[in-house]
Symmetry: C3
């Protein structure tokens, strides 16, 4: 595949007279892709049933004729105001019981059958009209599923769909009562119609109830998306993508991704650092204009897995955005660095969001490649530089990783349902392990929770996986490399019960979690080889080898053959040692990197990324602040 | 009375085949009591009006035949799902106006007359069936009134009951308007039907309105409970208890307790330290696996008063729990220490919660004496040790206390209604005084606010009592010992007005609170003899003796004879000095204890408890970490 | 005009027998004014349509005959309970959709037409009865518009009035869609009836939508107030005031003030320091019993502008209040200092709130000049001292200010609608500049945003004005002094879009804001001449003179002639230098004052105010703690 650049564009925002010039400048800049259409429903169908195709026909033609390839979005994230007259109950309802009204976007409940029908109608109309259009080279379904906390809806539509889902899953309330343990506190149901949504209960609902609702809600996203992909495929051979948003774990991206050809995500490094990372204030200060050094890479590797190898950045931050608590200006160079880091991880395309900053409405403070007055903004020249550089390295590939990390959305739901300690968050745990590997200079693959093949890897990590799947357990049993499982892995059944025999119940490892403790962040548990467990630890009964212990004698790591179980949440110092030991024992070379410097290999090159605001000197080369360096392997 | 141990058990959670073995192991361990039934309504009455007694008959018989005595709970804290079809409006409503739905427990409004009828029906059925059962040796009403913030309900049922209560209390709205001062801001009512609940007002409601609602809500708990005790007594001679929860002040436990034979409480030292104590982070760290050294003792002394001498622990934490922000593992020895501390304060029984950890539903992370796989957990051996030790000291008694602290639930409501300073909390104030006395090694009695006899005590404390009752004022007038009254005591009438003459208006003490100030926690007011007032102080006009002053000249303590008024909230240093002076002047010997070491006397023994994670050396004896020591007096 | 003192009094709270003595004591103390009536609706009209005038006639006569002049309030802030039966939907609704119920005060929606009619009815009745009463010397409309967050209502009444307002403003939805940019996210409307209120949207509403709602809500306050003033003027020649509350920016006080003769505000220095100032904990500690040294002065200067020269303090804190998070006792002397500071800024009258502390209802902990038992409280003697001192300086005037600060309510709405950085608050920004000028010992005028005449001033500041008005732009173009504009000034159109050409687009200054960044408070941007930008900075493209720069090279101040644009939010160190440079270059003398010492000139005297708790020594004179000093100019 080719490495390419693109941009997001909204012809409906600008006078038609400006389109041709915009298209020419895009082409001139060297862009390949232009994404359009995903918020334009009110212009495509201003009145119910009355389509206005002409403007869109001309827009696509203008862009296409300029040499650009169009990614056409379905506009289902922004139903027009008239849709609410057709379906007054289509709005999602928040956990407090309040309908989430019209006036911004994503104002729909995934479970509303009437709205789904109208989605099918507009997608059919779009696919019929543009499915064979020579300029439409890819599709995007909807926009950022789950953004603005929109996966979970407590509406009547969701309630009825949930009851149907439960009836399908359990067949009888007797089976459901048994599976959930509803005898506890007399929560037994006689009919499926008695079952409610797990919000607004007096104290926490049965976690099995909540967890079932989380699985249901994730399934609803997948089926909503599948409705669209099935229609598009009938009319078009172009690949279909969805643009996921960073750190959205409310639905299973692997499940939704199974119906797509390409995974893509929207990369806003400064926004994410500001609003969705548990890091120290010092870390936020240090990287305020660069973004976190590992957050993007994690998502690159995640979406490479979700896309089964094919992935893009559909929206790339080009300058300050509008939506984070604070919105700093990226350091000069970052708009280039972020693009190259994506390419180093195997991205086929990086599309900047957006072409020209809009002077109106919600995102008027969101930078584009152009200012509102059409003057090039900072990122314009950086995009041009990337275009230049791509000439020397046009081909995408990703180097084989020796280390794999299993990532499981259901575990995020599990530990939100029952954190047991206030700060126990699955993404945070998994990301801590990922970051630990990155600090050691390793290439990493992310694996889905039902991965059945581990043989390509020397080391596999599976922290915090609530339920180890059958395929993964079987793969682990066969596995010749080193696997580090835990903490908290395999500690729940799929019905959210504690399994008996007690966890982790791993093949070939005699170890039992006799009890666990969660701890406030200021109560570290020291390890005898240095560093600490934080947040969480477990007391193991074991006859296996105790490889490390806490200073009070509780086993910290036990192992048998290549299989190791980790009985707590290590701090960075402990994690560095544990991962170094694990990898070097498998013959891997680790390269502990200075803060803010990171690397990734393609099969032909080693790429270096300097997230620091100062240069880094590496003896054989120097990388400037916000710089990228690569060398042939 | 005998000192005994027991356990909470849920036969409905386990296969019937396991009951006999469980019962045998309980008996073998030396347990006396087994509490059952309090959440089993859906199994006792799976369909409205259709009772299933057989399983419960067999469970009681199995346990009884093994030698155990059954405490039978009424299941009214967990009405089954079908109850909502009978009474759709029975749910409590929160202060934001949202019904608090089915799906956990305590989903009922105390004021709903229809639900009360169904409670009477199930309690009657239970009492008729088991009132003379030889194995049923005690009763428990409902479970943890007020847990999950369930005393205050803003439902229609509550509204109508409140209006009736007001009509009974005031007889006319004219009288009510006058009593509340409704002329202020034109809040006058013409009929009782115009009066609403004091939530969702634009700014704070009239505090007299709020306070009346708090008194009403407390009365509703008492009458709800009385409904059950009156039925049980008709059919059974066994004593009746309720299991109160720690630091629940939303209803008057003395009033509810008047209808019970035994007070009991549910002691979760680590959970309480984590989620309901205003202490420093350092203190929380130090006692993270032991619990606060005074919190349990306070409740022991409180419930000895509520139970008029007879009290139990109905649920004793045996290991990590599931519900606090963080849930640490108790230090080995604590499950024994906690039991012995209860016995030292006069407990007749300590029941561990629960026999076997449930692998399902809300409390699956709550430890038991057994793990989910029936292997003994940490506390099992500690319970066995207590059983052994009880053989040497089978008899319960409590040593006479020389010091008494008045505790008044209505004052908690008063200062929540009108804190005047954000951090003015009644429990916190009363507990600070209690803790001060404990630090000095004293035995303490807690007295109800209408205590009419003080002569048994050398020292009486009454901080923060909003309204001193007639009996207490009369007792103080007669009292020969030393009484320390204030801060803020007697500063409100029962109708929540400022009395004129101004407070404290104490018999024989010429002192007037000319004005008060509340202060942020970082603005201490130094006292001339050391230490500070924090949070609160008062300016006194007085012709009495000024015993201490603030460094800026405001009187800090004034006195006349044995009566002293304290004009602020002392910090620990000031409190230690003030209490030492007060007690030694009355001929009491104080023994300032090192941090984490505490003591309590029975009439025959002095017990020492080491809450520290390290040993304490006391010259004549050494107490290990988490250790208990006793010596004959 | 005369400088006078007054007091707020509630005859309906006290037995009629006490009125004459109260009136005599007021007169004896030397008070001129007594404000009454503003919460007495339930006593004036206890039953709908049935007026009870007799008591009020007697109260006014008793007060008037004692020599006092009455300020009569309209009681519309406290409609009686029966009003809700007439208009069940008159309640305001909060942003969460909950009606804000009866039981305190301000329980009405400004947009409810039925309630407005009843307001007109009661005001007409009052004005007819007392419009010519010789003792009624002034009027007050309602009470503290906007207090308790009551300007914004999300009720049906507000919704319908908003749609009408939009229809008037835009005439067609096509025009509205264009003005707001509703094509973004398909938010276009076909009819005005489709438009909702901008709350409870999935993510933020279109800022143009929110901003229109804010303008509408402000207009509603003005028309509600105008309804009353028009009625009163028909019947009375006495001047009309309203008592504004501190730091209420939800409606445009200039617009409401245009219908009034006198602006007045309610000055609670300790309450405001405790609950509505972004200052360091150290600052709050230092001034805990004195109040902020600049907050009152800012409001004095603001309301002198709102009242077009005529202004009062209608409620002056006399001792501890009841409503702040913490309520300290003022240092002795502060009740005098606060009054004199008001007079130094041109107040005609200072009325203490209230005569006697009420022993009942919401404000029973709010001090008065008398205690509840009628004994003089601390402030009584201080008021007496002010009366004495006024004899020597009876005449009010205000010295010419050389420096002016533009203050614009719409900018407060704009930056709340779209802060872009979490801590960007307009009042905070404007107040920082005001405080900077005060620290330099300058006299300041505040100007409305449509000020058309600047020639009286040597220096004009206009930070953060979202849209510079036509008159102000014209005045700036003509202006010969030094004007400092920015940061963020003129960056929005009136329809809340980004203007093209880009801001600031100032006459005669070639400077363009190429982009902006908001920054967390711990990321300062150092300036090359010292100090930092905090929270916010802008990157300017300019051919003008760069007068200061950030150390990374971004221009910090650019200028051309007298016009300077400031490209960030300066910290105190930077602001002191910038303002000193600006003022001294215009020939003004600055006098950097020690912390807590402030000054203000009348045309004849220089007044000094010591907000410190310790004396300040100024070589030629010494001011005690909480002291006032004045000298002839
Ligand atoms: Zn996006
Ligand atoms: Zn319990
Ligand atoms: Zn007021």
């Amino acid at each position: 595949m080719k490495r390419t650049l693109g941009v997001c564009y909204y012809p409906e925002h600008w006078p038609e007279a400006q389109w041709a010039e915009d298209a020419a400048r895009m082409a001139d800049l060297g862009l390949t892709w232009v994404r359009i259409g995903e918020f334009a429903w009110s212009r495509i169908e201003p009145v119910p049933g009355k389509f206005e195709w002409n403007w869109l026909d001309r827009a696509i033609e203008t862009l296409g004729k300029a040499g650009l390839q169009v990614v056409l979005g379905t506009p289902t994230a922004t139903p027009p105001r008239w849709m609410l007259d057709r379906h007054p109950d289509m709005l999602a309802v928040d956990a407090q019981g309040r309908p989430r009204g019209f006036g911004s976007r994503r104002h729909y409940c995934f479970s509303h059958r009437g709205y789904r029908k109208d989605c099918a109608r507009i997608v059919t109309a779009l696919a019929e009209r543009y499915g064979r259009n020579p300029y439409v080279a890819a599709w995007q379904t909807d926009n950022e599923y789950g953004c603005h906390d929109t996966v979970l809806s407590y509406s009547d539509a969701a309630l009825h769909a949930f009851r149907d889902w439960l009836a399908q899953r359990y067949q009888s309330t007797e089976a459901l009562n048994r599976a959930w343990g509803n005898v506890f506190w007399s929560m037994e149901y006689a009919t499926f119609d008695e079952i409610g949504l797990p919000n607004l209960t007096v104290t926490e609902a049965n976690p099995a109830h909540t967890m079932a609702f989380r699985r249901f809600a994730s399934d609803e996203v997948a089926s909503f998306n599948r409705l669209q992909t099935e229609i598009i495929r009938k009319h078009s051979a172009a690949p279909i993508a969805h643009n996921y948003m960073g750190r959205i774990t409310e639905f299973d991206h692997f499940a939704t991704g199974a119906d797509l050809d390409i995974a893509s995500w929207d990369a806003y490094p400064l926004g994410f650092l500001s609003d969705r990372l548990e890091v120290t204030p010092e870390h936020k200060r240090r990287f305020v204009r660069q973004g976190d050094p590992d957050f993007q890479a994690f998502h690159h590797d995640l979406y490479r897995a979700v896309g089964r190898g094919r992935w893009w950045i559909m929206e790339q931050q080009p300058g300050p955005v509008n939506w984070a608590p604070w919105n700093a200006d990226p350091l000069p160079g970052m708009a280039r660095l972020w693009a190259w880091e994506a390419f180093a991880h195997g991205a086929e395309a990086v599309c900047y969001f957006r072409w020209r900053q809009a002077p109106f409405a919600q995102e008027q403070m969101h930078a584009g490649l152009l200012r509102p007055d059409s003057v090039p903004a900072q990122a314009y020249a950086e995009a041009a530089q990337v275009v230049e550089e791509l000439l020397a390295m046009p081909e995408v590939d990703t180097a084989r990783a020796d280390v794999a990390l299993v990532f499981d959305y259901a575990s995020a739901w599990a530990w939100q349902t029952q954190p047991q300690g206030r700060d126990f968050d699955y993404f945070r745990l998994a990301f801590a392990f990922y970051r630990g590997l990155r600090r050691l200079g390793l290439n990493i693959d992310i694996l889905p929770p039902d991965a059945a093949q581990l043989d390509a890897y020397k080391v596999v990590l599976a922290p915090g996986i609530a339920t180890l799947s059958e395929p993964l357990l079987a793969a682990l049993a066969r596995y010749k490399g080193a696997a580090l499982i835990g903490p908290r892995s395999n500690s729940k059944t799929v019905e959210f019960a504690t399994p008996v025999p007690l966890p982790p119940n791993l093949p070939g490892l005699d170890a039992t979690v006799a009890r666990v403790e969660s701890l406030p962040p200021d109560v570290p548990v020291p390890l005898d080889r240095g560093g600490n467990f934080l947040h969480w630890r477990e007391k193991l009964d074991t006859t296996g080898s105790v490889l490390e212990s806490c200073t009070d004698g509780w086993p910290a790591i036990v192992g048998s053959g290549g299989l190791r179980y980790l009985a707590g949440w290590p701090d960075d110092a402990a994690l560095d040692r544990i991962l170094t030991d694990l990898c070097t024992a498998q013959g891997l070379t680790v390269d502990p990197l200075p803060e803010g410097l990171r690397r990734r290999d393609s099969s032909t090159h080693r790429f270096w990324f300097n997230y620091n605001a100062v240069p880094v000197d590496r003896a054989d080369f120097m990388i400037p602040a916000a710089g990228v360096h690569w060398e042939k392997l």
